[in-house]
């Protein structure tokens, strides 16, 4: 095959990350908007109909681009007292979007920040949303909220025109008021609504304020709810309570794949405790958490286990297992081919072939999964920390055979997720227990449950073959990723002859989304291999990358990182230096790492410099915070994080057995933000971590001459 990639290649290019696919259900019950408006009382309600493009993100299910815009993407309410409430189906997990979205509304509406409240992730109140993942909040939701806020501002200006009979061009909206400068008159937004209930629906028309006119956005402001957090007042799901609350506990199987043979609950005081045995689900609830834990311990269950792989054989297993068939058209199975790798390699003076692996790792959010479920009059309400409130509503509706309008999911700002809380396990379990108990039930997973029964970032194997001219110019590139995913699989370097293929596999462990997805694994393999080619050619790592790179945005961050890092570095004994670059989800980055080799073979990361570009910067300080956080999280997976398992039993089931980065692990972090106000903003919560591992691995090679091709690199120091 030669020339343009075949259609299957296109599919690969376009495929959304498979672990983030969340197909909406086939039917949909419209929210009764009149009811909703009544609930809000007087004031102005503005809704924005979803446009075709952002509709994929929020507001639309079914109906293609040609169908009428019946879905609402965002809405906003200006109350008579001037309070502004904006509604979004997005949720806050620590990405600071409550702040950045509030900033966007303030900016567009020209209202003071403290007057704006954001209602997030409540399936009864907020518009439908696929979920908060994939770094899409900033690019899409911020634009939608800007639009609804702009429409509200225009409506308020209209009201002032009618009221004062003045020329519209003489009016200005600012700081929550409409001002008529010639006459010196001004009215607060709330006053303009005069207590009437006004409803406007506007079509999506993406013409938000240009970056140059941003006033609140583009600046660093502290988290809008920082005070609630530092006082402990904010209630995470695990902190909630309800009148008559009971506490739940689930009995977990002894290993993955185990099925329940029999259950003996005779030891449990069923006058005090409610026991549920439903298929393989066994759980209890009781008036106190202590009683529930005690009762769970009194259950005698007999489980049947089946042979399961252990971590020692996982990579062979992944390569041997036949490809998973995901759907009818076999998405993800096609290779993307251009030119001929075989011919180009045959002619290449430099030929390399290597295999790279990444272990399963755990998200381990500090707040474990939790849910509080309450049944009342046939309606189920569940508070839970999930990145997909509407998806979890569907899961609940299906689990309990309810229509979706009988289920309400509310997501309090949550103790993080990193892609690990897309599902509703705890929600379903709590609801099942609550139904049996006749009480609201709160279920908070233990740390051990969170480590063993949540899903993991997938493990994977990546096989790379390359061919290059003697000066390091690549001529052939073959890249096969097994299991872990297709994100970031394409190389940004220019290589004429390429074969790139993702091989989905049925994973023995439950796996799913993770911050940055497979981009971490694919960047690790690619950027390590780039270093190997550079070494083989005897070319400097920066120079070798530049030689193969046309993409101006990657070049820009690479140069910015190299400059800040001081590349080429001057040599110090027992120190090593490494580089990596890449692009994913519309952002661009390059990372430089400096490591030291400690006596005894330990590796210490001394310095990480990341240059990051994600278009226009909305809030520089929060962006920096996200980039730093991602680098620190990347450090764990790079150096020591790995899920260990033996016959289907997770043995790394607590923090004393699963090491995560701590204060003393944190190197000097240097973030260079490359601002491109001329470009739309891309999300930034994930991508900054993808170059950490290869940069460190390359630095370790630089210091020691040992090439490490598995993540984590040094779970117990350098290999002896």
């Amino acid at each position: 095959m030669s020339g343009a990639p075949p259609p299957s290649g296109d599919r690969l290019t376009l495929e959304p990350e498979r672990y983030e696919l969340a197909a909406g259900p086939a039917y949909r019950f419209d929210v009764d908007r009149r009811e909703f408006v009544k609930l809000l009382g007087g004031g102005l309600v503005v809704m924005v109909a979803a446009a075709a493009a952002p509709a994929q993100e929020s507001g639309a299910r079914g109906g293609g681009a040609g169908s009428p815009p019946r879905e609402i993407a965002a809405w906003l309410h200006v109350a008579a007292d001037g309070t502004v409430t904006a509604y979004t189906g997005k949720v806050e997990f620590g990405q600071d979007i409550r702040t950045s979205l509030t900033q966007a509304v303030a900016d567009e509406l020209r209202a003071p920040l403290p007057s704006i409240r954001l209602v997030m992730g409540d399936t009864d109140l907020t518009p439908f949303d696929q979920g908060t993942f994939g770094s899409r909040t900033t690019p899409f939701m911020a634009a939608q909220l800007r639009q609804v806020a702009a429409a509200a501002r225009e409506t308020l200006l209209d009201l002032a025109v009618a009221k004062w009979s003045v020329d519209r061009s003489a009016l200005d909206a600012r700081e929550g008021e409409v001002v008529h400068a010639p006459s010196g008159r001004a009215l607060r937004f709330g006053e303009l609504t005069q207590g009437q209930a006004l409803v406007r629906t506007v079509a999506a028309d993406p013409s938000p304020t240009p970056v140059s006119r941003w006033t609140v956005a583009g600046r660093s402001i502290p988290k809008v709810n920082a005070r609630d957090i530092v006082t402990g007042r904010h209630r995470y799901t695990s902190d909630l309570t309800r009148p008559g609350l009971w506490h739940g506990r689930v009995l977990r199987p002894p290993a993955i794949g185990a099925t329940l043979v029999s259950l003996d609950a005779s030891g449990v005081d069923t006058k005090r405790v409610s026991v549920v045995h439903d298929g393989d689900f066994v759980g209890v609830s009781a008036p106190t958490a202590a009683e529930a834990a005690l009762a769970a311990g009194q259950l005698k269950a007999d489980w049947k286990t089946s042979p399961q792989p252990s971590d020692g054989q996982i990579f062979e297993y992944l390569k041997k297992t036949p490809p998973e068939t995901r759907d009818g058209d076999g998405r993800g199975a096609g290779a993307q081919v251009s030119g001929s790798v075989a011919q180009a390699r045959a002619a290449a003076p430099l030929r390399l072939e290597q295999s790279y692996t990444v272990a399963y790792i755990a998200h381990a959010p500090l707040e474990p999964r939790a849910a509080l479920a309450e049944w009342r009059d046939g309606k189920l309400t569940v508070w839970t920390g999930t990145q997909r409130p509407f998806g979890v509503r569907t899961e609940l509706a299906e689990a309990f055979r309810l229509s979706e309008e009988k289920v309400r999911v509310i997501v309090p700002d949550t103790g993080a997720g990193y892609g690990g809380k897309h599902t509703g396990e705890a929600a379903i379990e709590a609801a099942r227990l609550a139904r049996a108990a006749g009480h609201p039930v709160k279920l908070v997973w233990t740390r051990e449950e969170e480590f063993a029964w949540a899903y993991f970032r997938p493990a994977g194997v990546i096989d790379v073959k390359s061919g290059a001219r003697a000066d390091g110019t690549l001529t052939a590139w073959e890249f096969h990723t097994y299991n872990c995913g297709a994100s970031g699989i394409r190389t940004p370097y220019d290589v004429a002859n390429q074969t790139v293929q993702f091989h989905p596999v049925r994973s023995p462990l439950r796996q799913g989304s993770y911050r940055a997805l497979a981009a971490t694994a694919n960047h690790f393999a690619r950027e390590t291999h780039m270093d190997e080619v550079a070494r083989a050619a005897g070319v400097d790592a920066l120079e070798m990358r530049r030689r193969n790179l046309k993409d101006a945005r990657v070049r820009a961050v690479l140069d910015a990182a190299a400059e800040r890092f001081g590349w080429p570095p001057s040599r110090t004994p027992a120190r090593g230096y490494g580089l990596a670059a890449g692009t994913e989800k519309g952002s661009y980055l390059a990372t430089g790492a400096e490591v030291s080799i400690e006596p005894g073979g330990g590796v210490r990361v001394r310095r990480l410099v990341t240059a990051f570009e994600c278009g226009a910067v909305v809030n520089p300080d929060h962006l920096r915070n996200q980039v730093e956080g991602a680098m620190v999280q990347g450090l764990g997976g790079a150096l020591f994080e790995a899920v260990r398992f033996e016959d289907g039993l997770i043995t790394t089931d607590r923090f004393s057995r699963y090491r995560v980065p701590r204060f003393s692990d944190v190197p000097e972090l240097d973030v260079v933000l490359v601002d491109r106000p001329d470009l739309p903003s891309a999300g930034a919560g994930e991508t900054p971590l993808v170059c950490v591992a290869p940069a460190i691995g390359n630095a370790i090679f630089d210091a020691t001459g040992t090439r490490l091709r598995s993540l984590p690199l040094v779970p117990s120091g350098l290999p002896k």
Binding site: G94, T241, E628, S656, S664
Partner: protein, 158 residues
């Protein structure tokens, strides 16, 4: 069961609880003081940290009976007539959080540190907080926040 007397945030509470239970579960489930968080239950993460006799204590590993009659301070007890404690203020201003779940524990540990040592250098802060996990990776900012609080309280009260 005998009544236990707890001195929490300057208020005396008499409770009828199993003395073997953890202080963390009593605070959270019985007293609805949910600022102290559950993160691991094994003393590894620090999210449950409260002050007992001014000393940072992992409430998940502390039997409630063992703190009877001793002064306890939780994150809810730091504010003084609507004024944030300087450490709380510094965390908010330095944006030393993302999801914020680790924040109360970090703040309590830092308050204790500043009471012991008014002006700790960064490595001393790292040493004092090493037992706390911030999975969101805001470590650098937390160190900066503690430095900021130390600056702000120089010569004053911690």
């Amino acid at each position: 069961m005998p009544l236990l007397e707890l001195q929490i945030n300057g208020v005396s509470r008499r409770l009828d609880v199993d003395p073997e239970r953890s202080l963390l579960s009593v605070l959270r489930d019985d007293l609805d003081l949910t600022g102290a968080k559950y993160g691991c239950g094994e003393g590894q993460c620090g999210a449950c940290t409260v002050l007992v006799d001014d000393r940072p204590t992992r409430s998940c590993l502390t039997k409630v009976a063992s703190v009877a009659g001793r002064p306890l301070i939780t994150i809810e007890g730091l504010e003084r007539s609507g004024q944030l404690h300087p450490v709380q203020k510094a965390f908010a201003e330095a944006d030393a959080m993302q999801c914020g779940y680790c924040t109360p524990g970090m703040i309590m540990e830092s308050v204790a540190l500043l009471r012991r040592q008014a002006d700790p250098a960064a490595p001393e802060i790292v040493h004092a907080l090493e037992g706390h996990i911030c999975r969101c990776g805001t470590y650098d900012r937390i160190v900066r926040a503690v430095r900021r609080a130390a600056e702000a309280t120089k010569g004053g009260t911690g």
